[in-house]
Symmetry: C2
Subunit: 259 residues, 2 copies
């Protein structure tokens, strides 16, 4: 049966995260997977699982989420985005659809993915133009030194044990991951955009990396502390977990057979 | 008593417009003026009217609204934005505060103001980055010709009778207004930003101008039709009233004594 791959964007503000949640004793929660499976069911005529590459948390956004489903729909693949979008609420959009190979698995076939965390550091808060993007920017009243953040970020790149950058009780056997790149952009004064690409991430890992780089920007810690955290696995050395709304899934990449 | 002038931004999505509305038989509606007067009362210790330059409609945004109030507060003027913002919901912000002359009237002292209307014209709808600003962009599925919009916009500039660009029952005696400038920007493919500056505007005037320029962009009317509408006052010649959420008050200007 044909398998389809979707490129998806969503504003996570009003979702309880990606993953479908149907508590036995009450109404299902509003999730991205939930509304997508409903729209796909209407368009294709059969209810099938829509599997996402990343199970983003409540409040986290995506512009490049990848998901897949299997269907014998007669809707041509190039018409799928329009057809599914017509059945979706305005805060989630299918950006593109393509045929994938039969056993394409968005989770285990993934080669790398990239998250972005956006920070306004200003003693005036989110005023002016920021007001209109306040649901995707986290604000701190402290001034941040972008160069200090960059030199600390560089210490994260490579294959390390990221136990100190995972929420306790993360439920994963191995905490070894590879970070391909960690950059700090300063597109305008008072704005810091962190981009972290890697093979995979532990629970809350990007939000803890962002919190650690904010501490670095304030001069509270540096590359030495990050190296120590990677060696010891000590969560108390790393920074706080920043709130979800500054986080966005940018892209997910697959191997040569799936590009 | 000292009079204060505030520069204000708000996301109009969740407000019933600027003007305070207290229906006798039910709860007051959530308005920008309402939440501002409440915050100013807490900060200054007395409940006073906060008068805005423009009574924007439900759903309309502002980044440069000007408002004024009179108070004997002992809070220093430079601390007012922070103090008031601490009492305001996240969708309205005081950007600046200054002392004004005793009888400063934000409405009648106004020399000119400028509105912006933002349009995505794309056969793919509001996907990708647009998703995160969808509450401030109006989407049309028709392709628009920016040059045709510009030549039609030019016919609006000057002092004219704008009866054909006002909602019927606008409640104003004179429909003569002066448009200082009307420009159509194309910052990126598929995006059209209209900016209209003038001495004052009739009810729904900017949204009807935007609707008329969209018709021009589709080749449905041109500068000749606009000239005819200005001469005849015929509302059926002009375009539809576009929805409020694409509209934003950009700035309000005052004379030499108030700058």
């Amino acid at each position: 049966m044909p398998r389809y791959r979707l490129l998806i964007a969503y504003d996570g503000t009003d979702f309880h995260g990606w993953q479908r949640q149907e508590p036995p004793d009450r109404e299902p929660l509003r999730t991205v997977q939930g509304v997508l499976e409903e729209a796909v069911a209407v368009v294709t005529g059969s209810r099938v699982p829509v599997v996402g590459a990343s199970r983003t948390d409540a409040g986290v956004h995506a512009i490049g989420q990848v998901a897949a489903f299997t269907s014998e729909t007669r809707v041509p693949v190039e018409k799928l985005p329009l057809a599914i979008n017509a059945r979706l609420p305005a805060d989630v959009r299918v950006r593109a659809a393509a045929l994938a190979h039969d056993r394409f698995d968005p989770i285990s076939d993934c080669v790398s993915k990239c998250y972005r965390y956006t920070i306004r550091h200003s003693d005036r808060g989110l005023g002016g133009e920021d007001l209109f993007v306040r649901r995707t920017i986290w604000n701190t009243w402290h001034r941040l030194d972008a160069d200090a953040m960059r030199s600390t970020a560089a210490a994260l790149v490579g294959t390390h044990d990221f136990a100190a950058f995972a929420q306790v009780n993360h439920g994963r056997e191995s905490t070894v991951r590879t970070i391909h790149g960690c950059t700090v952009l300063s597109p305008s004064p008072g704005l810091a955009v962190l981009e972290v690409a890697g093979s995979g991430f532990l629970y809350n890992m990007v939000r803890i990396i962002a919190g650690t780089l904010v501490e670095a920007g304030r001069g509270k810690l540096g590359a030495e502390d990050v190296r120590r955290a990677l060696t010891t696995g000590d969560r108390t050395v790393t920074g706080p977990t920043l709130p979800p709304h500054g986080l966005r899934l940018e892209w997910v990449r697959y191997g040569a057979t799936e590009t």
